[in-house]
Symmetry: C2
Subunit: 335 residues, 2 copies
C-alpha cells in the first residue's frame, strides 16, 4: 500500500475524467466522489473501481453525456430516467432532488430508472445528512445470491442505506443484503484466509466459509439466511415498480450490469421544531450503546458511520492507503 | 393441538374483551385481529398472546379507554401519541391514517409514540396492501440483542415490515431483526431440538444454536451479525426521533414493555397510472424466483407472504390449530 493525499488523488482523477471527455463540472464531481469514497476507506468503490468505470464507458454501458431527466411526478414523488448516465452523477442529482422535495413537503422521493452503479451507496446517505435530511436509499443490482432454498443466484445484494443527520457526526448505515461483498470474499481468498462466518454456498449446496469455493459458485449468502433473501427480493420489487425500471431479472439479461433501478427517499426532520430534542434522543441511544461492556476486553462498540469518520480523519492526516498496482493502473489510464 | 374455527375464536375473544370493559367496537377489532393473526399461523402473536395482553391491562400498561391522538403535523407527516392504548387499536388507526395521507399526497407517514405491542406487525402490512398501498412499518421493542461486540442486550429486535399490493396476493415481508424470535427459540427448547443456525450467545460469549443456553442469557443474534446490529439501532433511532418517543433504552427502564415508538410509512402506487405495468413487473420478479431449481428436490421457493396465504386458506378450511392448554386458558379468562 502507498499513501496518496486526497488532493492529489482528486487532481489525478479530474484529469483522467477530462481525458475521457466529461465536462469539467462532471469530471470534478466524479473525481471528488471517487476520492471521498476512498478517503472513507471504501477503496473497493473508490479508486479500485475507476478502471472498471472506464471500461464501462468504453463498452457503452455508461453514457458520458447522458443526464437524468424528470418523468412522471405526483407531489412529493418523482420518477426520473437516468438515461444510462454515470451512476455517481445521477445519484448525486437524485439525492439533491429528494432533499429539495423533503424540504418542501416533509418527505420526498425520487425513483430512478436506467442508471449505472452508484459506487458507494453511503455517499448519498452522507450527502443527504449534510443537507439536514434523513435518507433511506436502495438500489437493485445484478443477481449474486440465490433466493432461499434455490440453486441459482437470482437476487441482487441490493445495498440499503439509512442516514440520520447529527451535529457531532451523522449516523450512516450502508449495507448490502449479502453477508459479505464479493470484493471482500476475494480479499480473503488472496490472503489465503477463511471467512469468519459462512458467506455463500459451495458446489454441493452446502454453506461455506471458504472464499475459493464461494467465488467459484458465485452464490453469496443473504444476511439472516431466509430473512435477507426476502428483504433483497422486496427491495428489488419496490425499486422496480416505483421507478418503472428494470428488475434484477432484467438487469441480468444484459452482458453488463447497467440499467439499474434505485430509490431515494428523504425526510426533513426539522419540520418538527424540536429545539435539540431529536439530537438528545439520538445521543441517548448512542450513549447507551457505547456504554455496553465489550465481549473482548478493550473492544469498542460503534454506531453506524462512526468508524467511517475515524477512517476519514486518519486518511486526511496520513494520506489514503492505496494499492500500488491500482494506483499505477490509474496513472496509466490518465496518460 | 385442537382445531378452532375462525368464527368461533373471534366470538369467544369478542366476549372476552367485552368482559374486560372494551367498547363493543374495540372488542370487535381486537377479537378480529387476534383471530386473523392466528388464522395466518402466527399463534405467538395471536391466540397465545391473549393472556399476556390481559395481564398488561391488569398491570396498567395497556389503558383500555385510551385513544391515539394527532400531535404535530407537517403536510404528509404526522406525529401521533398512542396514550398507552392497546397496540393493535393504535396500529390499526395509524395505518389507516398513513393510507389516507398517501392517497392525498402520494406518500404519508405517521410516527407514533407511547403505544403498546402491536402483536403481529405484518397485520398492518396486509391492511395497507388491502387499501392499495405499499407500506414500510417498524417498531422498537425492549432490548433482547447485544450490539455487535457487546455483552448486554441493548438493542430491540425491532420488527420491520414491507408490503406491496398485488391482485393475485399481496407481497408482505414481516421480519424481526433477530435471527430467531425468542418464542421460536423456546419452541425448540420444549421440543429438545437445536436451532438450525446460531441464534444467540451462551454464557461464555460464544455463538450458540442451543436454545437452552440462549434463553438463559437472553442475548439474541441479529440477522447478519454486525449488519443487523446496525440496522436494529438505526430503526430505533428513526422511530424514536421521528415520533419524539421512547427509545429501546427508555422502554427498558420500565418493568413492562410499554411506551413504544413506531413508524407507519405508506406509498400509494396508483399515483402512477401505469395500467397494470407495476403488476407485470412484480410478477416478473416473482416468476423469476419461482422458476429457480431448488437445492432440495421437491422444495418450492416462495415470495414474502406467499406461505401466509397458503396457511390462511388451509386454516379457513380445516380450522385453526391451537394448543389445547392455550385455548383452555383463554376460555377460563372469558368465564
Amino acid at each position: 500500500m502507498i499513501q496518496i493525499s486526497a488532493i492529489h488523488m482528486q487532481d489525478v482523477l479530474y484529469k483522467l475524467f477530462l481525458k475521457y471527455k466529461f465536462t469539467s463540472e462532471k469530471a470534478k464531481l466524479l473525481a471528488e466522489t471517487y476520492t471521498k469514497n476512498t478517503l472513507d476507506g471504501v477503496n473497493s468503490h473508490g479508486i479500485n473501481r475507476v478502471p472498471l468505470f472506464i471500461d464501462y464507458i468504453k463498452n457503452g454501458s455508461v453514457k458520458i453525456d447522458a443526464e437524468a431527466e424528470k418523468g412522471e411526478t405526483f407531489g412529493s414523488i418523482e420518477r426520473w430516467d437516468g438515461n444510462f448516465g454515470p451512476g455517481i452523477i445521477n445519484a448525486r442529482k437524485c439525492t439533491n432532488r429528494a432533499v429539495e422535495l423533503a424540504k418542501l413537503y416533509g418527505m420526498g422521493m425520487v425513483a430512478l430508472r436506467n442508471t449505472n452503479h452508484w459506487m458507494r451507496g453511503g455517499t448519498y446517505g452522507w450527502q443527504a445528512a449534510d443537507a439536514g435530511c434523513i435518507s433511506i436509499l436502495f438500489t437493485n443490482t445484478q443477481a449474486n445470491m440465490p433466493p432461499w432454498g434455490g440453486k441459482d443466484s437470482r437476487l441482487g445484494n441490493n445495498p440499503f442505506i439509512v442516514s440520520i443527520p447529527r451535529k457531532e457526526g451523522h449516523v450512516v448505515l450502508d449495507m448490502a443484503i449479502s453477508q459479505f461483498a464479493f470484493g471482500k470474499i476475494n480479499d480473503y481468498k488472496i490472503r489465503g484466509k477463511k471467512l469468519p462466518f459462512p458467506g455463500g454456498w459451495d458446489n454441493n449446496d452446502v454453506l461455506s466459509n471458504d472464499p475459493e469455493k464461494i467465488t467459484t459458485t458465485e452464490r453469496g449468502l443473504p444476511i439472516g439466511y431466509w430473512k435477507g433473501s426476502a428483504l433483497s427480493m422486496i427491495l428489488d420489487m419496490l425499486a422496480t415498480l416505483l421507478a418503472s425500471g428494470n428488475s434484477t431479472y432484467k438487469v441480468g439479461q444484459g452482458t453488463y450490469e447497467t440499467g439499474l433501478s434505485q430509490i431515494y427517499l428523504c425526510i426533513y426532520p426539522e419540520i418538527f421544531n424540536d429545539q435539540g430534542i431529536q439530537e438528545r434522543l439520538l445521543n441517548e441511544i448512542i450513549d447507551y450503546t457505547h456504554d455496553v461492556e465489550p465481549m473482548v476486553s478493550g473492544d469498542k462498540i460503534y454506531y453506524p458511520g462512526e468508524r467511517t469518520l475515524q477512517t476519514r480523519a486518519k486518511n486526511q492526516k496520513n494520506g489514503i492507503p492505496v494499492s500500488e498496482s491500482v494506483w499505477e493502473n490509474v496513472l496509466k489510464l490518465s496518460e
